[in-house]
Symmetry: C2
Subunit: 362 residues, 2 copies
């Protein structure tokens, strides 16, 4: 028997954790500044009207970008941000890129980073191991927990022309440093906190239900699931202690990022066709997968009730046949997770009729 080829998993280099930790950002930046070059700051556009950008050590000559996160990041959007950053840098190589936001902002920072040191366009790097040159040093400061983008090796982008949601999967996509400060998530609206936060639960249970596994990934995913359950089944999911727990769950869940299952492909379809955010799209997907994931379906419905959040019905009720076909196509294309969940014959279960009927029930 040939020895299997194991992946050499990269970890996030440094992690600083604690309430108010963001105050130590200057200290973290100092050795990078010493090497020269401006810093590039990516803030979720929400922070344009918030004091956060004034509380962090931005200096003259730095580049500040407010990322429009009303929709999921797109390949075209990344190309535009890259052009903007390049222009403002005027030939300088940045000492660091920093991201303050949720998955959309962090993925934008991660993908722009890759394009600053690699030629071509964002879509050239959608896939696995396509990035050739190391990106500038990146620091992630999540302000919204759940996606695991802070610790994962992907930056997920919607490619409109190809009707494809796919990440830049590469060790170079990862952050080198994280600052996990639960104070940063205090201003998140409740529904957004829930729908983004539950993403950790989703990708961890999908990884644990699949056939591609390893003991470390399982251990991290189980712990992330425990923490998520604790947060969403407790009285106030946004209590300070719970915001810290969810931040850690998201971080561990991102490190555990293995293969997902049926939720994520259907969710990708919704993001592509209806421009829906990943977290809420996951919840819609699970809401019509009660036959495949009965236990998790019940648990997430309980969590939603407990936290007083709900899904509006009928979101896919009146689409055109072409749109239903697009939903199907943008879902079924995700071979790896679907095989992980249902085996190689997944198309026998997930026929176009079966999948489209599920979308119509949402």
């Amino acid at each position: 028997m040939a020895t299997p080829s194991y992946r050499n998993a990269k970890n996030v280099g440094h992690v600083m954790i604690g309430q108010g930790a963001i105050a130590q950002l200057g200290e973290v930046l100092a050795p990078l500044r010493a090497k020269g070059g401006p810093a590039v700051w990516f803030f979720d556009h929400f922070f344009a009207h918030n004091d956060l950008p004034k509380r962090v050590p931005v200096v003259e000559g730095d580049v500040v970008i407010f990322v429009d996160t009303s929709e999921e990041p797109t390949t075209d959007g990344i190309d535009a941000y890259t052009d903007q950053v390049r222009k403002e840098l005027a030939g300088a190589m940045p000492c660091a890129l920093l991201a303050f936001g949720g998955g959309a902002t962090m993925d934008t920072c991660k993908c722009v980073g890759n394009l600053l040191t690699n030629p071509g366009k964002a879509e050239d790097y959608q896939g696995w191991e396509l990035v050739k040159n190391p990106a500038p040093y990146k620091i992630g400061c999540p302000t919204l927990s759940g996606t695991g983008s802070e610790s994962s090796r992907t930056g997920v982008l919607c490619n409109e022309a190809k009707n494809l949601k796919l990440g830049m999967n590469s060790d170079f996509t990862m952050f080198e440093q994280l600052v996990l400060d639960p104070d940063l998530s205090v201003t998140v609206p409740r529904e957004q906190y829930f729908f983004t936060g539950i993403d950790t639960y989703m990708h961890c249970f999908e990884s644990l239900s699949g056939s591609y596994r390893n003991v470390v990934v399982d251990a991290l995913a189980e712990k992330a699931l425990d923490l998520s359950r604790h947060v969403f089944l407790s009285g106030d999911m946004m209590a300070e202690e719970n915001r810290e727990k969810l931040m850690i769950a998201s971080y561990l869940g991102g490190l555990a990022a293995g293969f997902v299952g049926v939720v994520h492909p259907l969710s990708a379809g919704l993001s592509m066709v209806l421009h829906m955010h990943h977290g809420i799209a996951n919840c819609y997907a699970l809401s019509v997968l009660e036959d495949i994931y009965p236990v998790q379906y019940r648990e997430v419905m309980d969590m939603m009730q407990k936290q007083g959040v709900s899904l509006k019905k009928g979101i896919c009720a009146n689409l055109t046949d072409e749109q239903y076909q697009q939903l199907y196509d943008a879902s079924i294309v995700h071979e790896k997770p679907l095989t992980n969940a249902l085996g190689p014959d997944y198309r026998k279960v997930l026929t176009p009729e079966n999948v489209i009927a599920r979308f119509k029930r949402m």
Copy 2:
């Protein structure tokens, strides 16, 4: 209130996990070899009569050291290994250091690494943040699970002249790469497997019982404890699946390394005065701490019974008064863990009479 100063925790850079993963070591080494310089290989002396050194990609010009692990590493021992390595390197800087063994071999590799790039002797670096220059790239391949040395930032040394067991605590002490191959632990004798393996349980429960905590450390420590319990309360602790679980537990436990409690200081006393190995010394320590840790005392006694291992009684029965005093001194000096477990007034509980009576009961 001033913002507290949080530690910026470093992670091990890369981790490869799986049965037979050691076969990919050549692949891992290739980019390091490309930069030039020989590799330095540290093997536990057990492997001098085993085929492992022939199964790994040692090439001409590399330095191979067999580490005598009959006793815990000492500052004098590290100085001697450093001289030997320096002499064999004849002025070259190594492309990598590699360690195959348990905590003693890995700590030897870690400490010699620091001394290859920092002047002076091993004892100059016992403490916190004393190492100034980065060590050469280090690859850890544990063959014995439990100590967490593979993922911790310390290399623990006995300083005979100072009657002090203390580590070189530094980010530079850490491995950059780990290869966790459960096949490597198949030849470990059962008693050694148990006494070393249980170290993870010990430092994780002590960290979780203490007052210095954070949510990530807790999460990792809890998971490591779960895995340890599973391994030692199951039928055959050395079944292949259990060897993999224990290897992961040890890795997570090392990452979680926080502050320990009363077990480790008493254990340090035994290592200093009786030259006892850390793992079994921990078990002796817990065996006389049933009043402080009743639950863990019971659980470990159950595990020992289940796995058919036992502690010989009377190991400290006939020592001199001077030796009892040395045992006390080498234990009580560990202020941080003792404060963590019992608060600042720990000396009121752990008087010389109290502690010496405990040693006499072992």
